[in-house]
Symmetry: C2
Subunit: 166 residues, 2 copies
DNA sequence: CCCGATTTGATAAGGATTATAATTCTTCTG
DNA sequence: CAGAAGAATTATAATCCTTATCAAATCGGG
């Protein structure tokens, strides 16, 4: 964690920016919630716990700055708010997302699934790919399993019923 | 075009909605600008040309309705506004986009490039895919060609220079 | 042609983000 | 170590996009 913060610090310095306490607190919140997809408001509330004097505008500015440095990616799942998602260190592609239309959960896929597709796009459409965004909408494994369990239950009840009737 | 409007009309009726003149005018604008990615405001201004009395709220409501019916898809390219993109008729997947980071152009890929990837996701992550969003960010063929032309030009000038020097 | 339900238009309200301006912090310099 | 220039911060106002509200208009069935 400390190492990672130091490296971000260096990235900032390389562009003549400082790692102020507010910026550091914001980065820490992002690191501590790496799996989440926090909105600016979410980040603000979490940062406030460690640094109550911070202002909302500063959080917005910091997130913008981190986006510029490609430390985070700004994403949008269609609700009205932008969310900020930490990049894997050193990753040159943005990870993918699985959005559940039933429970709203957002899972991540770190692996790059698009290598071949990108090559195809570059060749066929003569388009130099620099980055991508890929999100699947569907039903997550938790909701699928819940459904299966319910179906099994229903089936068992049905059988019991049959037995009673005999 | 008329046929397509009729089919949309039927889709509306199937859900007890009417194809009012305002809705029809909105759909026509979308059909006439099929390759574009219009914002609600854009649509509003275009509809106003044919039906000056229409209100902005109606356009928003109609676009929401069309999104619900999967006639259009609501997308977001990271600028602050939602854009509305007509689906291919009968397509069960949403087409992909190529966003140029140099000139801002947005091109479409109608082909489905994700068949195999979706199968993999379903198997490996146990996630039932219903839809997807795929956008590539990079440099479009027009900008690439412009660059190449410039490089050729530069190179020719260099050669001329060499000759002069001799 | 009338009635109940739907849809509309104008505008207010809401929510997210950005701009502004005064203040505080840093860092540099002498 | 004081003073000054510049960067960053805070609080808040302003802006922009979208949604909610509600009276008025419209539509389709009887």
């Amino acid at each position: 964690m400390e190492g990672r913060i130091n490296r971000i610090k260096k990235q900032l310095h390389a562009q003549k920016y400082k790692l102020t306490p507010q910026r550091e607190a914001t980065v820490r919140v992002l690191l501590e919630n790496e799996q989440d997809h926090l909105s600016a408001e979410d980040v603000y509330l979490l940062v406030k716990e460690k640094a109550p004097e911070i202002g909302l505008a500063t959080v917005y500015r910091t997130l913008e700055l981190l986006t510029e440095l490609k430390v985070v990616d700004k994403i949008n799942f269609g609700d009205g708010v932008s969310r900020y998602d930490l990049r894997q260190e050193g990753a040159n592609h943005f990870h993918h997302h699985l959005v559940c239309i039933e429970c709203g959960a957002v899972d991540e896929i770190q692996e790059d699934l698009l290598g071949d597709v990108e090559k195809l796009v570059e060749r066929r459409w003569h388009f130099k790919v620099k980055d991508h965004r890929l999100t699947f909408h569907g039903i997550c494994h938790r909701c699928l399993e819940k459904r299966e369990a319910e179906n099994r239950q229903d089936h068992e009840n049905e059988l019991e019923h049959e037995v009673e009737k005999v």
